[in-house]
């Protein structure tokens, strides 16, 4: 019996009530889903369970015994294993040191044997059917998906009784998700209790036995997954029904005018030259396994990666050597990592939004406050950014609202080529819907839109056309009625698919 029962848990950060009486009960042997929009309090709950923060009120019980961990170690000792949303790997430590931190083999007089450590790390990776590789590499050198996998393995190595996965799949690819699901199912089957958090409702449906829905810091419903169809989940989460998540695809984009064209454009050696025409009104998605040249494609277009070939935007041929040059040429990018590459979290909403357009709202280097106010007010209004005062630091907003701030900064430049790199990762359904709508609006207004997504379902449902990349080469171009399976098959399969009806 490893039942986890939380009742009436409260937590405030200063004036923000992150949890206002949240309850949840998960039984041993089950995978329990936890869903809710951005800022609903899911991660806060996770942090309380894992000892990273302490609750203001309410109770948590594991196996009927009260659980009040005062530190991450205490939580770990009590049997709680957490895969943190923001990951807990130390960039400068090696894969092995991260994997086995605190459970190193052979520690004598405080000294860790590196040989034994590396051997144990390779062993551990092998046990999870992963290629060991060079375990002395610092984690800094790994990509997000690799780190995510490492974080999962690290957590399981502590042999927890309760396994918490906070958006552990957001960076994973279908096959990695399958690998994780198998692990979680095995864990539950062995009597463990798993808490699974994800914004991909399809994952919740396929993995979880029961589910709890959070809204605004409290539980608002839940039950066996079979009794909760997706539409009902969404309604519980958002407090309103959503007609349709994805906007309708563009009709007959085929013969529309070309707004942007890539000719033999690439970033050798990781991205081979490719040709691509983006048409008026069209949303073009890029998919494939992680790290197949998608980042290089977007980076090369935006001037952060050395590029070869040419880009035609309107009538002009471009070659951008820096993001500033790209922006000036009408190319804008929503980067993948909001916190690291997107926003200045300690600065205000206003400063973040106007940062991209300073040239346009200033005269002789002096910011025109009136024009700035109009710009910011317009953005906040149009994207319905929830913020009390536009001078409040962006870091204090919920993830979804942060994403909207980033989008509004990018859109304020009125780009002619809009690049979105996994812009909906970790974003809740409500906000996603709004982002999709915006993308459509932009395309309809004549902006060339190219987006990458790690979520095959999103690609299938949103894009008019999907390029699947593999090893730097376009493996398939899909259009019309695209199915998720087609994308996955093209991404992993050896077959070469050509434009499909």
């Amino acid at each position: 019996m490893r039942d986890l029962v939380l009742s009436d848990v409260q937590k405030s950060y200063g004036g923000t009530r992150a949890l206002r009486g949240a309850s949840l009960s998960a039984r041993s042997g089950e995978v329990h889903g936890l869903v809710g929009e951005n800022g609903a309090g899911k991660s806060t709950l996770v942090k309380i369970l894992s000892g990273a923060v302490r609750a203001d009120g309410g109770s948590v019980a594991l196996d009927g015994r009260a659980l009040r961990p005062r530190s991450p170690q205490e939580a770990r000792r009590a049997g709680i294993g957490t895969v943190f949303q923001e990951l807990s790997l130390i960039p400068d430590l090696s894969v092995a040191a991260n994997l086995l931190y605190g459970i190193e083999p052979r520690v004598r007089a405080g000294r860790i044997s590196t040989g034994a450590l590396h051997a144990a790390a390779r062993d551990a990776l092998a046990r999870f059917e992963l290629p060991a590789g060079d375990v002395s590499r610092p984690v800094r050198e790994l990509r997000l998906a690799e780190r995510q996998v490492l974080e999962i393995v690290k957590t399981l190595l502590h042999e927890p009784q309760v396994l918490i996965l906070d958006e552990a799949t957001s960076a994973l690819l279908p096959e990695q998700v399958a690998w994780l699901f198998a692990l979680v199912r095995r864990f539950a089957a062995a009597g463990g209790c798993a808490l699974f958090i994800s914004h991909r409702l399809a994952e919740i449906e396929s993995l979880c036995d029961r589910v709890t829905v959070f809204r605004a810091g409290a539980d608002v419903g839940g039950g066996a997954i079979g009794e909760l169809p997706e539409a009902r989940l969404v309604e519980l989460m958002l407090g309103r029904a959503v007609e349709r998540i994805y906007p309708p695809k563009a009709p007959a984009a085929r013969d529309a005018e070309v707004v942007c064209e890539l000719r033999s454009f690439g970033a050798p050696p990781r991205l081979q030259p490719l040709d691509l025409k983006l048409r008026h009104g069209e949303l073009v998605g890029v998919g494939g396994l992680d790290g197949q040249g998608q980042a290089e494609l977007f980076g090369a277009l935006f001037g952060t990666v050395p590029a070869a070939g040419s880009v035609l935007l309107g009538a002009r041929e471009l070659r951008c050597a820096s993001p500033a040059a790209a922006l000036d040429a009408g190319i804008a990018l929503v980067p993948e990592d909001r916190a690291a590459e997107g926003l200045c979290l300690t600065l205000g909403v206003r400063d973040n939004i106007s940062l991209g357009s300073l040239g346009g709202i200033s005269r002789l280097g002096v910011v025109d406050r009136a024009r700035e106010r109009r710009l910011v007010a317009g953005a906040v209004g149009e994207l319905q950014i929830k913020v009390a005062d536009v001078r409040d630091p962006v870091g204090g907003l919920s993830g979804g609202n942060q994403q909207k701030v980033l989008l509004s900064r990018v859109l304020a430049r009125s780009p002619r080529l809009l690049l979105l790199y996994d812009a909906t990762r970790g974003v809740d359904v409500g906000t996603k819907t709004e982002i999709y709508r915006l993308m459509r609006e932009q395309a309809a207004a004549g902006v060339a839109v190219l987006f990458y997504s790690s979520d095959a379902a999103e690609l299938a449902a949103l894009a008019d056309r999907v390029l699947v990349l593999h090893d730097g080469v376009v493996r398939a171009q899909l259009s019309g009625e695209i199915s998720e399976e087609e994308i996955v098959a093209a991404a992993v399969g050896g077959r070469r698919k050509e434009a499909h009806a």
């Binding site: 950060y13 200063g14 942090k47 990273a52 923060v53 923001e86 935006f302 952060t304 820096s322 993001p323 500033a324 922006l327 000036d328 990018l333 980067p335 916190a339 690291a340 590459e341 997107g342 926003l343 200045c344 979290l345 300690t346 600065l347 400063d351 106007s354 940062l355 991209g356 300073l358 040239g359 200033s362 280097g365 002096v366 910011v367 005062d389 001078r391 870091g395 204090g396 900064r409 430049r413």
Partner: protein, 317 residues
């Protein structure tokens, strides 16, 4: 409006006021106009250097090459005028040299990627070496009289020097609050990568703080020389850390991204007040140093209180 938003800066002024009150209670002379003037003049040395230092620290950097840039400016001016060059020409040349020093620092930091503390520390040593070689370890030139007259001369009831500081304050506050340059500095300090992806040409922007700092140091060197009527090789020593400390007392984060020159001005006042206040209590040098350290800790703690609190509770904890 919201005073809370400017709490760090206001705290620094509150500390300055408190120190002033303590001094006045101890001796009414403390508030005598001539005394105030003198104190302001001393504050202005740190204050003028403090503008460049504030800009550097806002971007997450620091300028430790101030001492020998300052000394170099004074010494070279004194030597050149002694050789018969007109004062104006000497000053122009010296400012041009300071510009080069600032450019080198800035380019090292922005383009070569050298950490600012190392770049400027190395530059300070290099300048010291060059200047010592040049002067053979000593200077015995008459200081230019015109400079002294100008610096100490009275303009509308105040020493010209204070008007210069007033202009620097106006310029510094405007730069940070009103211009795109200021916005870009904050953005780079808060998250350089994000700023670059938002279209800020970070490398180019990053050079400017070091140039401004070097020019500020050079101007201060000239002012100190005018004020004491002499150039001497240890004249930069007190300014190695004091301007950075003034910035910190003014509530800026040494990590960059937050702070304002308005705070640094208060920080310069606080440092000067402490230095003027402590001798009133006839402490020995040893106790003076101890008291200085304790007051510094207390002031930075008070001014930085809400900053550090916020840092601790940042949402991606």
């Amino acid at each position: 409006m919201s005073l809370a938003r400017h709490r760090t800066v206001l705290t620094a002024y509150a500390i300055a006021l408190l120190l002033f009150a303590v001094g006045t209670l101890h001796s009414l002379d403390f508030a005598a106009p001539s005394q105030l003037k003198t104190m302001l003049v001393y504050a202005s040395f740190i204050g003028i250097i403090g503008l460049g230092q504030t800009l550097c620290i806002l971007t997450g950097g620091i300028d430790l090459s101030v001492p020998w840039t300052l000394t170099g400016a004074a010494v070279l001016t004194s030597v050149m005028t002694a050789e018969g060059r007109p004062l104006g020409v000497a000053i122009a040349l010296v400012l041009a040299l300071a510009l080069v020093v600032g450019l080198l620092n800035g380019i090292g930091v922005a383009y070569a990627g050298v950490p600012p503390i190392i770049m400027t520390l190395g530059m300070n040593g290099a300048l010291q070496g060059l200047l010592l070689v040049y002067t053979d370890g000593g200077i015995s030139a008459n200081p230019p009289q015109g400079l002294t007259d100008f610096v100490l001369g009275d303009t509308l009831g105040l020493p010209t020097q204070l008007w210069i500081w007033a202009a620097v304050i106006a310029l510094g506050c405007a730069l940070l609050s009103l211009t795109t340059f200021g916005r870009r500095l904050y953005a780079i300090g808060a998250n350089r990568r994000a700023a670059e992806l938002a279209g800020v040409r970070a490398r180019r922007v990053l050079v400017a703080p070091y140039v401004i700092s070097a020019l500020g140091a050079a101007v201060t060197g000239l002012l100190v020389m005018g004020f004491t009527g002499q150039a001497f090789l240890t004249m930069g020593d007190p300014y190695l850390f004091s301007s950075a400390v003034a910035v910190a007392v003014g509530g800026a984060s040494i990590l960059g991204g937050s702070g304002h020159y308005a705070g640094t001005v208060a920080g310069a006042l606080v440092l000067t007040l402490v230095a003027s206040l402590l001798p009133l209590f006839s402490l020995g040098t040893a106790w003076l140093q101890i008291a200085y350290g304790l007051i510094l800790l207390a002031a930075v703690y008070a001014a930085g209180l809400n900053v550090t609190r916020k840092k601790r509770g940042s949402p991606d904890a």
